[in-house]
């Protein structure tokens, strides 16, 4: 069992900063509206409290939770995923059932050299978040080789 790349914590935190700034803008706009047009105070106050909670979660909690809650193993014949925080889920995907592999990289992830790898099977898709680019490439190759073994089955 391997953990995802530790840089995922920083990456998630940066994303957290972005959404925090978004929250701040909303609060500021609401505050301005309250002063300018005499809106009731509770609207701005409530939003401020909710935003504060979101900011704390985004910056301090979620990045670690993301890192802690993911484990994966790429074995010779299957991919094993363990994830979830409250509810632990274990997923086992046989290599021969993987249809294609996707890698997705958002602008922030790109800065950290991470990407999210998705495996599509006939019945849905599974993903591993925040793998380093080299690791993603290795996983991808291994799957491609694993998929070739049993090409008679779908």
């Amino acid at each position: 069992m391997k953990r995802i790349d530790p840089r995922a914590i920083h990456c998630r935190r940066t994303e957290g900063w972005v959404s925090s700034v978004g929250c701040l803008i909303v609060v500021v706009v609401l505050g301005w509206l309250t002063v300018r047009y005499d809106w009731p105070l509770w609207i701005a106050a409530l939003t401020a409290v909710i935003s504060a909670v979101i900011v704390v979660l985004e910056l301090a909690v979620f990045p670690r939770v993301l890192y802690r809650s993911w484990q994966y193993a790429i074995l010779e014949k299957e991919v094993e995923l363990h994830h979830g925080f409250w509810v632990r889920k274990r997923t086992l995907i046989p290599m021969s059932r993987i249809q294609h592999v996707n890698a997705k990289q958002g602008p922030i992830e790109k800065g950290y050299g991470l990407s999210t790898v998705t495996f599509a099977t006939a019945a849905g898709s599974h993903h591993i978040p925040a793998l380093s680019e080299e690791e993603a490439e290795r996983v991808r190759r291994q799957i491609a080789e694993g998929a070739n073994i049993n090409n008679e089955e779908i």
Binding site: I98, Q99, H100, V101, N102, A103, K104, Q105, G106, P107, K110, S115, A120, T121, A122, S125, E134, E137, R138, R140, R141, A144, A147, N148, N151, E152, I154
Partner: protein, 331 residues
């Protein structure tokens, strides 16, 4: 690891620049949600400058800016779209803000579609769609606007029968003449004759019902709206001659005709070829479509005969594949 070293060096191929049209349509669809921003922009600039700016010029400027933005985005999308085939794996890299990479190994491809849209036909290009059993209904990979030769090359590299060939522009013109011949059932090849196609479009019952329902709803709305305007009185006097039942009849016939022509264009020149372990289906008049299916990917075959079909001794056959759309044909 062994090969990962040279893969970043070996860059992929780009699509034909014509595919910018495709990307334009795509980004247009995505940015349609921003359309309401245009009037907002216009209103805001008035506030910003403090005095009234010429409305016409302002609108024109914003529309032009939006157009430039759209074209720029399409160009960027085209620049960022790279693909290559190596060791039986189709690799595609694309995306503007979010970079997406996709790998499909040839064992997993369940169907390869090529279609020639009208604008592609001018340049002798085809659109190639790759589907696997995974994911949702839409094709996993779309290579819009590649040359026919390139499509053949990709098909060959992905281990599908290439001697069947991609319908080139010349061939598609030729086939217009030859399709009116009687259907030849030879060598696992089956062609639907013009007469059959006509009958088939006539008995396409389901489509017509949908059309009529939609059209009826539309008509009702239109009617209500018209009643509120003064123009209605003017038109009403003239059309009263035909009376309402007459108008309805005209409308029904009109929609039926439209549906008929639409299905006729879609199904025109239906051709089915069995080649080893793959089935090739070709059809279409304006947009020529071609689908290659591997037989071992077929999950089910469904044959249905409705009342109208039985009259002509026809049946519709549906091939169901996992994770993708199905084909429909009649005989």
């Amino acid at each position: 690891m062994r090969r990962s070293k040279h893969s970043p060096i070996e860059t992929g191929r780009r699509l034909h620049p014509v595919s910018m049209l495709y990307f334009l349509a795509h980004s247009g669809k995505e940015l349609a949600g921003l359309l309401p921003l245009i009037p907002v922009c216009i209103l805001l600039t008035n506030d910003l400058f403090g005095k009234e700016v010429n409305r016409f010029f302002l609108t024109a400027a914003i529309v032009i800016a939006a157009m430039i933005l759209l074209i720029g985005l399409a160009w960027l999308r085209w620049r960022r779209f790279l693909y290559r085939v190596e060791q039986g794996v189709l690799y595609i890299e694309h995306g503007l803000w979010v970079r997406r990479k996709l790998w499909i190994s040839k064992e997993r491809i369940s169907s390869l579609d090529t279609s020639i849209s009208i604008y592609d036909r001018i340049f002798g290009l085809v659109r190639l769609k790759v589907e696997t059993a995974g994911g949702n209904d839409e094709p996993e990979a779309v290579l819009s606007s590649i040359t026919a030769a390139e499509a053949v090359r990709i098909q060959a590299m992905l281990g599908l029968p290439n001697d069947a060939g991609i319908p080139s522009v010349n061939e598609s013109r030729q086939s217009l003449a030859t399709h009116s011949e009687a259907n030849a059932l030879s060598h696992g090849e089956w062609r639907m004759s013009l007469g059959h196609t006509l009958i088939m479009t006539m008995v396409q019952g389901k489509l017509l019902v949908i059309w009529l329902v939609l059209a009826g709803g539309g008509l009702k709305l239109w009617d209500q709206w018209l009643r509120g305007t003064s123009a209605w009185a003017y038109i009403y006097d003239r059309l009263m001659l035909a009376s309402i039942p007459g108008m309805i009849a005209i409308y029904v016939i009109l929609t039926w005709m439209i549906a008929l022509i639409a299905t006729f264009f879609l199904e025109y020149g239906f051709r089915l070829k069995v080649h080893g372990d793959s089935i090739t289906i070709e059809r279409g008049f304006l947009e020529k479509k071609r689908k290659v299916i591997k037989t071992n990917r077929i999950q089910a075959v469904r044959v249905t005969e409705n009342v109208l079909h039985r009259l002509f001794g026809m049946a519709s056959v549906r091939i169901v594949m996992s994770g993708s759309s199905e084909e429909d044909k009649k005989r």
